[in-house]
């Protein structure tokens, strides 16, 4: 299933609705990294609230997305990691280091709003 990416002012929101295959994840990565440049967005939010499992590939891919987006001059926030998911992630040593995380979409938007508006981006 292809993950829909919504554009909200200067941010992109990718809301994952169901379990994803590895191909879906790579597709999401390609789409996000491409669109962050096309829309001159300041930040991207990946909402994983619906996921009850995050395997190492998913975590690695999301971390890759965050780093790629940073290289393109924007910020990424992963939001909505569930308690059980967070617990099993740290047990597997998957801690998403250097990637911003927030409780839910609202918090993620607040986090991005707090970031300094640099890099010549102003969302259109």
């Amino acid at each position: 299933m292809r993950v829909p990416i919504l554009k909200q002012h200067s941010y992109l929101i990718a809301s994952i609705q169901s379990a994803l295959t590895d191909d879906d994840l790579l597709q999401l990565r390609d789409d996000l990294v491409a669109q962050i440049g096309r829309f001159r967005s300041r930040g991207a939010i990946v909402d994983v609230t619906a996921l009850d499992v995050m395997d190492s590939f998913a975590v690695r891919t999301l971390r890759g997305v965050a780093h790629m987006i940073r290289l393109r001059g924007a910020q990424t926030v992963i939001v909505g990691i569930q308690p059980e998911v967070a617990f099993s992630m740290v047990q597997l040593g998957l801690t998403l280091e250097e990637v911003a995380t927030a409780l839910d979409l609202e918090e993620g938007l607040a986090y991005l709003d707090d970031q300094p508006k640099s890099n010549g981006r102003h969302g259109e």
Partner: protein, 300 residues
């Protein structure tokens, strides 16, 4: 079962063990009052069941005696098992020890055996057969009572452990979006896991942004526990919450540095007060006393 083999062996000696047991039971029923009193006296003499009053000991002794004889008669230990469990449930909270329970059952076995010796002492062959029938049944009873008692005790211990775990890990909200988690007592891996789970659920339900974990009440920290703490911190961060750890005593700090646990990722503050102040700062609160200029920092 060994009893079966003995049964065939004794059967050839004309009297079946069932008949012998029946005779035995009749004898024990007949001398109930006297044997029971003898038993209660021996219990007191041996200094067992001191937590119970004389009347209570006598009442329990009566029930145990009747149950004991009934089991000898029917060979069914289920009723005795149920009674032993029920008895254990009543006496464990009063501090009755395992050796006391085993002691009184063995005493009863002894009292009854003595009475059998007395009755059959003229006929050694018959006495042998009677004991052959009596001993396995008596052993089984002692075994059943002992096992039931220990099982009940273990059940109580498990229940209490669970209760302690539940009680000792509150996740409290002090301000909107600020939680504190005071940890008291020894942390084992199971408790650490439960703490983390509760913390994460608390973060979600209270929409917490900052959590203060206070470990003033933790006597010692080793590498495993330190890793559990790091895990709790990492997991909280994945849910968008910052963790501040407070109350590391000097000895704990020394241990951690000596064993080389990397706590660089952890925000630590000296005591709970400092931790809460730091958390308030992170959340943008400014606490000031009424009447004081808000800009003025409170000292002390």
């Amino acid at each position: 079962m060994a009893k079966q083999e003995e049964a065939t062996f004794i059967q050839s000696a004309a009297e079946s063990p069932t008949a012998l047991l029946r005779e035995l039971v009749a004898h024990l029923r007949q001398n109930r009052t006297q044997l029971r009193e003898e038993w209660a006296r021996r219990i007191t003499e041996a200094g067992l069941l001191t937590a119970m009053s004389r009347e209570e000991v006598f009442a329990e002794a009566t029930t145990v005696y009747d149950n004991y004889v009934a089991v000898l008669e029917t060979g069914s230990v289920e009723a005795l098992e149920a009674y032993a469990r029920d008895l254990s449930e009543r006496i464990i909270p009063r501090g009755v020890e395992t050796h006391e329970v085993l002691g009184i059952v063995l005493l009863l076995r002894d009292v009854l055996a003595r009475s059998l010796f007395k009755k059959y002492q003229s006929d050694i062959a018959l006495l042998n057969r009677v004991l052959d029938a009596y001993e396995p049944a008596a052993n089984r009873i002692a075994n059943t009572v002992g096992v039931s008692f220990v099982q009940e005790r273990e059940r109580v211990i498990r229940q209490q452990q669970e209760a302690i775990r539940e009680l000792s890990t509150p996740v409290l909200q002090v301000r909107a979006r600020l939680l504190i988690l005071p940890i008291i007592g020894v942390i084992d891996p199971q408790r650490a896991r439960q703490l983390t789970e509760q913390l994460l659920r608390g973060i979600r339900s209270n929409r917490a942004k900052v959590v203060v974990i206070d470990i003033t009440g933790v006597p010692a920290v080793d590498a495993t526990i330190a890793n559990h703490l790091v895990q709790a911190v990492d997991a909280s961060r994945l849910m968008g919450a910052t963790v501040i750890v407070t109350g590391l005593s000097s000895s704990i700090a020394q241990t951690l540095v000596t064993i080389g646990v990397d706590l660089a990722k952890m925000k630590t503050v000296g005591d709970l007060q400092g931790g809460i102040e730091e958390a308030e700062r992170l959340l943008g609160y400014k606490v000031s006393r009424v009447g004081e200029a808000p800009a003025q920092e409170e000292t002390g």
